[in-house]
């Protein structure tokens, strides 16, 4: 019963969807202010989701159940991630061993759902988007996992998110140490790519491949994909806070840290042009991986 409550209401589906949609509004508003515009009203993303769920669902020829079910796959995984990460703050003691590894796996599923759905739609531009998304996943997973390992080593081999948070409560945030700072930089670049924000939005480039992976989606499945993105916008910065910046876990402090991280991500998004997929791969397998390895070595040395 408690598990169901935490999955469906707090900190799972309902809470993460509400916060995520508000965070998406912050994204649009801050982007608008950067471009000297007014920006949409606060309820814009809620309206978009509602409107999309009333629209007709167009099924392209040759697409079937896989096309319609893959949004649900990504959505369920995103909600589960939000629940696990949220519970690391709410009930740190009750986490199971290795939940950080589960979160790492679950975070790949929304991207995998995009790839499956795009491939099932049978559209050539969606296939281009899917292949780019696949390359992007392969390139950012390596530095992301390396920076997670650096954190685990730093926290004395703690494999529970709750333990990592508790360790930081006792010994101070990871981000103020050398290894923590370096792996944080590597991880935030990976998070940018996980969210599909510029400069890593080649897989759904609206200007060149017309929405890429999402090109054939309409109506309710598109709304589910947008909701998944919103939940990830809530979850990933919170995950970063739990790993790197959990020295103080008061509600207001977490909120402040979350907004700071969100605005940093939005600023990176708004000040960088889109990278070609080969440039993105070179970036992730080169400098970012080296950064994560340096962080890991420093963590092993106890810095």
């Amino acid at each position: 019963m408690t598990a169901l409550f935490s999955y469906l209401i707090f900190p799972g589906f309902l809470f993460s969807a509400l916060v995520g949609l508000m965070a998406c509004w912050v994204d649009r508003k801050v982007s608008a202010r950067i471009q000297w515009r007014v920006g949409p009203p606060w309820h814009q993303n809620f309206t978009d989701i509602l409107k999309l769920s009333f629209k007709e669902i167009v099924l392209p020829r040759g697409a079937g159940a896989v096309f319609l079910l893959s949004p649900a796959l990504g959505f369920l995984a995103a909600v589960l991630t939000a629940t696990i990460v949220g519970n690391a703050f709410v009930t740190p003691g009750q986490a199971f061993v290795g939940d950080i590894i589960v979160v790492l796996y679950l975070l790949i599923i929304p991207a995998a759902a995009l790839i499956i759905g795009a491939s099932a739609s049978g559209n050539p531009l969606a296939a281009v988007g899917a292949s780019r998304e696949m390359k992007l996943v392969m390139s950012y997973e390596l530095p992301f996992i390396l920076s997670m390992i650096a954190v685990i080593v730093k926290c004395g081999g703690a494999l529970r998110l709750g333990e990592i948070v508790a360790w930081q409560l006792n010994f101070g945030s990871n981000i103020v140490s050398w290894s923590g700072a370096l792996s944080f930089i590597a991880a935030i670049i990976c998070v940018q790519a996980k969210l599909g924000f510029a400069p890593f939005d080649a897989s759904e480039a609206e200007q060149e491949i017309m929405g890429g992976v999402l090109i054939e989606y309409s109506g309710f499945p598109l709304a589910v994909f947008r909701l998944t993105r919103a939940i990830l916008v809530y979850t990933l910065p919170l995950f970063l806070i739990s790993l790197f910046w959990a020295g103080n876990t008061g509600v207001l402090v977490i909120l402040g840290k979350y907004i700071v991280l969100l605005v940093v991500i939005i600023l990176i998004k708004n000040t960088n042009p889109r990278l070609r997929i080969d440039q993105a791969m070179r970036l992730f397998w080169g400098p970012v991986t080296l950064l994560a390895i340096a962080a890991l070595v420093l963590a092993l040395l106890g810095k």
Partner: protein, 141 residues
């Protein structure tokens, strides 16, 4: 006014369908998105794929080649899909009316919901046209 119409009019996703225009109208449409006019504050966003669209913003005269395609594009859009004709060409073919390359006007192909005349219409005129369409949908006048 039911809830569906209410949310639809508050979040219009616009697909810009260039139906052999001379590009003047297209430039004016892009002006609507710039900081001076900022259509996003009304919930209007430009989308890349016609499957996401609520509004088909058509510029130009349907020619023998584009007439087929604009019709196909409308069929690909999820319903309800509104059509706005921007510019004199899309509204009434102006000087291309007698052209051998122009088989018919846009409103003989698609159900056009709003006409925004002008050559090209000013950004203010485009916004005014969209607002009139929204008011018509909501039954406000």
């Amino acid at each position: 006014m039911d809830f569906k119409t209410r949310v639809l009019t508050k979040s219009l996703f616009v697909f810009h369908a260039a139906c052999s225009p001379c590009n003047n109208c297209d430039i004016e449409i892009l002006d609507v998105l710039t900081p001076r006019y900022d259509a996003e504050r009304l919930g209007i966003t430009l989308v890349g794929s016609v499957r996401h669209a609520d509004v088909l913003l058509v510029t130009g005269v349907p020619t023998r080649k584009t007439a087929v395609r604009i019709k196909k594009l409308y069929e690909q859009a999820p319903k309800p899909c509104l059509v706005i004709a921007v510019g004199g060409c899309a509204c009434g073919r102006i000087m291309f009316r007698e052209s051998y390359m122009s088989p018919c006007a846009l409103d003989e192909l698609l159900p056009v919901d709003a006409y925004i005349p002008g050559c090209p219409p000013k950004p203010e005129a485009i916004l005014a046209g969209v607002v009139k369409l929204i008011k018509k949908l909501r039954g406000e006048g």
